[in-house]
């Protein structure tokens, strides 16, 4: 029964990891940018929410309605300035620039918010409560909600990319930037839109993690970015549903590792990550999409 529990918990945690991963995957799939500041930006979103709640005393969920658009706008602005500037030089430059961004964000957070970790306190029973399946399995409502949000986000992204005007342009620009320009599409604007969408999902990831666990200035790189990478690589680059699969595989591996010995939790996840890199470097879903 403990193993069943581990698998259920793992699958649900996978939703959270998929949420971490989809923005990273989108940015890479469309503009070939590996955003090393990805996790830090998620943490920023969490801190903004904490700030908004502290200052305005709006209910937690209302603060999300502010944070997600703010992060999306930040995504557009960063893409049009810093990241595009790096892209114009070379794709490799974007690694340096986003790494620099990551360092700056982490240190700024340390400076202003200290190294103490904080959680997004909600006080909602839906967030802190759980329900029982049988006698040994306790499932947190929050994880179920996060998993559902991840699925909705992925469905939404899929719909956006396949059916909307900007989604079509994003795929066109990812396919052939020059041909898209010849059709009148300004790739810089299209990249900006893609970054805005990606940052919106990053914000959700940060908020989810802030409720699920605790945020500290270094959470972005040591947890969110690494797990996002692992999920993307396991699932397959550029594939949206691959990120969910990758997240679930990572989550289950961690929980099974923890079941064997609690100190193996993180290690087990990375071992699967390594195994996929060696045995199936294209990821579990080999369908090429967008990239």
């Amino acid at each position: 029964m403990a193993w069943v529990n581990a698998i259920i918990q793992g699958v649900l945690t996978g939703g959270l990891y998929a949420l971490f991963a989809c923005g990273l995957s989108l940015m890479f799939g469309v503009m070939k940018v590996v955003n090393l500041a990805h996790g830090d930006l998620a943490v920023v979103a969490g801190y903004i929410a904490i700030g908004v709640i502290t200052v305005t005393h709006v209910p937690v969920l209302w603060s999300f309605l502010i944070v997600v658009p703010v992060m999306a706008a930040l995504g557009y602005a960063l893409q049009r300035t810093v990241i595009q500037g790096a892209l114009d030089r070379s794709v490799l430059t974007t690694l340096l620039v986003t790494f620099g961004l990551s360092v700056v964000i982490e240190n700024a957070l340390l400076q202003f918010f200290t190294a103490n970790s904080r959680a997004i306190g909600t006080g909602l029973p839906l967030v802190s409560g759980s329900f029982s399946l049988g006698s040994q399995i306790q499932i947190a409502y929050l994880l179920v909600v996060i998993f559902a949000v991840a699925v909705v986000v992925l469905l939404g992204l899929q719909y956006f990319l396949s059916a909307s005007r900007y989604g079509r342009l994003i795929r066109a620009v990812a396919d052939d930037r020059e041909a898209a320009q010849l059709a009148g599409a300004d790739h810089r604007h299209v990249f900006g839109i893609a970054a805005a969408v990606a940052f919106g999902t990053v914000a959700l990831a940060g908020l989810a993690y802030g409720m699920y666990s605790q945020l500290s200035p270094t959470t972005g790189t040591d947890t969110i970015l690494l797990f996002a990478f692992a999920a993307v690589v396991i699932g397959g680059l550029g594939s949206l549903w691959g990120t969910l699969l990758g997240g679930v595989v990572l989550g289950v591996a961690q929980q099974i590792g923890a079941q064997i010995n609690i100190s193996y939790e993180v290690l087990a996840g990375y071992l699967v990550f390594l195994a996929v890199l060696v045995l199936r470097p294209q990821g579990l879903t080999s369908r090429r999409a967008g990239a």
Binding site: R165, R168, D175, E178, A179, A180, L182, A183, A185
Partner: protein
């Protein structure tokens, strides 16, 4: 379908060849040129790909740039579309200098190119390719519906991935993608490249239909006989320089051959006709 009878008529009337660059008014295409290139010099690194090329394209014309591989034809078209920046010289569209304008702005204003090698969006369906072309379209006669009417087979296969089409079909979609933008000037880069002759015939056979909707075509073609058949005006490049310019009726096969290969005695009409261009 026969090749542009329309073009042939214009060719006869456009008699005077020498100095056509500056004396454009003599051509049937009346008024001011819709597209003009002045003393264009373009470098690829150290290589001078285009050397002081000048010409004007008048509304309704089919203006063909011919020349051997490496003559600078594609570079010329890409520079007009905005994908290359010239070292010196300018590109004028409707009399306005567009030399520094970004390619997407030129496309929205009516200079649309069908790039060499089709360059369809491979992960998009046929219809999505057309829709991308229509996203920033000007007002005009061309719609996706009209493209489907023009290329009968396309409607049935509109949900197929563009990557699954044959070369000729892809070329048709690429042309359709450009047409739905309702260009004023359509740039066609090496339509015949990699296609079977019969397919090339069919695609060039569509030109009169496309022209009937009232646009101007500037095309690049390695196949000289094909160019002579459809063009109302030809312009031959050799190693980045103009070697011959005129209407198909006014140039002889020998002249074309000399201009194309750079043989001795290139005293053909219109050799360096741009001398007095301002």
């Amino acid at each position: 379908m026969s090749a542009a009878p329309d073009g042939a008529g214009r060719a006869v009337s456009g008699g005077a060849v020498k100095g056509a660059g500056e004396a454009g008014g003599e051509r049937a295409g009346t008024g001011t040129p819709v597209l003009e290139v002045r003393d264009l010099v373009v470098h690829h690194g150290q290589l001078r790909a285009l050397d002081a090329v000048s010409f004007g394209v008048f509304p309704g014309e089919v203006y063909a740039i011919i020349g051997a591989n490496g003559a600078g034809k594609s570079t010329l078209l890409r520079t007009i579309a905005g994908l290359h920046s010239p070292t010196t010289g300018s590109v004028l569209f409707d009399g306005a200098d567009v030399t520094r304008r970004r390619p997407e702005r030129r496309a929205r204003q009516g200079i649309v190119m069908v790039p060499e090698g089709r360059r369809l969006f491979g992960s998009l369906s046929v219809e999505e390719n057309l829709r991308v072309g229509a996203t920033y379209a000007r007002r005009g006669p061309w719609t996706i519906e009209r493209v489907y009417e023009t290329f009968g087979w396309m409607r049935e296969r509109r949900n197929q991935s563009a990557a699954q089409l044959s070369g000729g079909e892809q070329q048709a979609v690429a042309i359709g993608r450009a047409l739905v933008g309702n260009p004023r000037v359509l740039l066609l880069d090496e339509l015949s490249l990699g296609l079977a002759p019969v397919v090339v015939q069919r695609i060039y056979g569509m030109l009169p239909q496309i022209l009937a909707a009232g646009l101007t075509v500037l095309l690049v073609e390695q196949d000289v006989s094909q160019a002579l058949r459809v063009a109302s005006h030809i312009h031959c490049l050799l190693e980045g320089r103009t070697t011959l310019e005129g209407t198909p009726a006014s140039v002889t096969a020998d002249q074309v051959e000399a201009a194309y290969f750079g043989l001795a005695g290139t005293a053909a009409p219109g050799a360096a006709p741009e001398g007095s261009e301002p």
